[in-house]
Amino acid sequence: MESDTIIQTENLSVYYGTHRGIRNLDLSVRKGEVFGFLGPNGAGKTTTLRVLLDIIHPTKGNASMFGLDCQKNGAAIRKRVSYLPGELHLYPSMRADYFFDLFASLQDGRPDPAFLAELLERLDLDPSGRIKEYSHGNKQKIGIITAFMGKPDLLILDEPTIALDPLVRQTVLDLVREVKNEGRTVFFSSHNLQEVQSICDRVGIIQEGELIRTEKTETLINRQLKRITIAFRQTPPRGAFAIEGVKETGRDKNTISFEIRSNLELLMEQAASHGITDIETKTVSLEEIFLALYSRGIPGDSEGDTNV
């Protein structure tokens, strides 16, 4: 019986000469989930994807997919995987329909023509032209269709919505949701945190080659950063809430806004002593969490299941 873990890396490191690619990466992606892989440019996202696909070799550590070693069973693994590179380079003089046909045959299977037609229609792409004649966005659509058309068990998408207009972007996110609903798995590397927040079950955050956090998207949002505005009967003096993990972000008459990372209970105790008349909590976006994590130069503030 196949394991519930689709992707597993252990102590995975890649160095380019002495330049760090990724360092001691322990990652696990489960069957049927959409896993968001977040990080700034140069953090090691694409390097990780390339090691998984055996495009580059690790300096140290192991990577496996579907329980098979990525270095030893690359071709067998890739039969079940589709990959959309972050920097998509196609054959300029090839017709798009020929490209689909060629890649379908090289993927060891022909796509369901009805599904291919559906993808073309949903992404509004006419495949009769030569690739060099297409706009940047339409070339990206070709890459997306190629990744989705074979209905693989695992989709590895590196910045899939880059260069797409908002409508098409939404269609792509819908396609990802449909993949998940069919019980298939998506590894979704992106800069677009709103997208990640809207479709990913879990996220992994990578910084300078190290995985600094892996957590359920919802948990990460709920746990990490809270914004609370408290209205008091009387304005507390400045410095009244000098609590670790609590930052006063604004005052307006009797109202004080806080950004809280820890010690919520202590804040509420102290606030109660000044007489609370109203409390308002605000949802924090993944983007704000991401920026907060990076601005503090983690690793460190971990309560997350980093090594899940």
């Binding site: 000469g17 070799h57 003089s93 090289l106």
Partner: protein, 272 residues
């Protein structure tokens, strides 16, 4: 793998037609002018410059061999080095190799498909060039009979295939071994030029005799004897051995290569 070979050949249809027709025109012109040119040139047989470029002016048959066979193999050699360095290193530089490497294909299948396709392409070009030039020779024979049988001429021309596969595989090896196409193409071009002129120079200067054996052009006879005696088995064996050696080396380094990284295959990362 077969699909990839078909695709690679198909994507070079224009090259097959263009080079094939071009070499027919090139060869036909020289063949049709051979009697006249030979008469004019044979009085200057002692000029070393002709030896330097490999011209044999002892007979019209020698002249045809040293111009048509030698130049067609030289020109197709140029095509071979351009295409072979482009086929691995060029695709890596262009970014399309990453797409192929992410497909369920073993690396040896990618390399073998591309190498086989390129050899087929050169073979098809040779077929077109051989057919056209043999027809031109047959036409010339009507007015100016020469001692070359059409079939012998055709097989002599097709016989340059092992030389060309040697260059192709050397280019594919360099593309798999060198960090990028630019370096691979530079090294290949230097060797190709040195091989061509080195072989001819070695017949002028005795001190260069050993150099001859390092030149692939040495193993393709472009004198009139090829029409009488055919392709030498020993030469073909050397060229096929070179082709096989570069193929195996290319496979070894391509399997080790970190695609998209653009570095030497033996240069591994160091953990700090």
């Amino acid at each position: 793998m077969f699909k990839l070979i078909v695709h690679e050949v198909r994507s070079r249809r224009a090259a097959i037609a263009g080079w094939g027709i071009g070499l027919v025109l090139f060869g036909s012109i020289y063949i049709s002018l051979a009697p006249e040119l030979f008469e004019q040139l044979k009085s200057m047989t002692n000029l070393s410059v002709y030896k330097l470029v490999g011209l044999h002016l002892e007979s019209v048959e020698g002249y045809i061999a040293s111009v048509v066979l030698a130049y067609i193999s030289f020109l197709l050699g140029i095509y071979s080095i351009i295409s072979s360095t482009a086929t691995m290193a060029g695709e890596e530089d262009n970014g399309t190799l990453e797409l192929l490497a992410a497909l369920p294909l073993e690396r040896w299948k990618i390399l073998t498909s591309k190498a086989a396709a390129l050899c087929l392409v050169v073979f098809f070009i040779l077929l077109i060039a051989g057919t056209g030039n043999t027809a031109a020779l047959a036409l010339m024979n009507r007015n100016y009979p020469v001692n070359i049988k059409p079939l012998s001429f055709f097989t002599s021309l097709i016989g340059s295939l092992p030389l060309l596969t040697g260059f192709i595989m050397m280019g594919i090896f360099l593309g798999s071994f060198m960090p990028n196409r630019r370096i691979a193409a530079t090294v290949m071009s230097v060797y190709f030029t040195a091989s061509y002129f080195g072989e001819h120079l070695s017949y002028i200067s005795g001190s260069l005799e050993t150099v001859r054996y390092l030149c692939l052009f040495n193993y393709y006879d472009t004198t009139e004897t090829i029409f009488a005696e055919g392709i030498r088995f020993s030469d073909t064996a050397v060229l096929l051995a070179v082709t096989a050696a570069f193929y195996v080396s290319a496979l070894y380094f391509f399997r080790r290569r970190d695609i998209t990284v653009g570095t030497w295959p033996w240069k591994k990362g160091k953990i700090l």
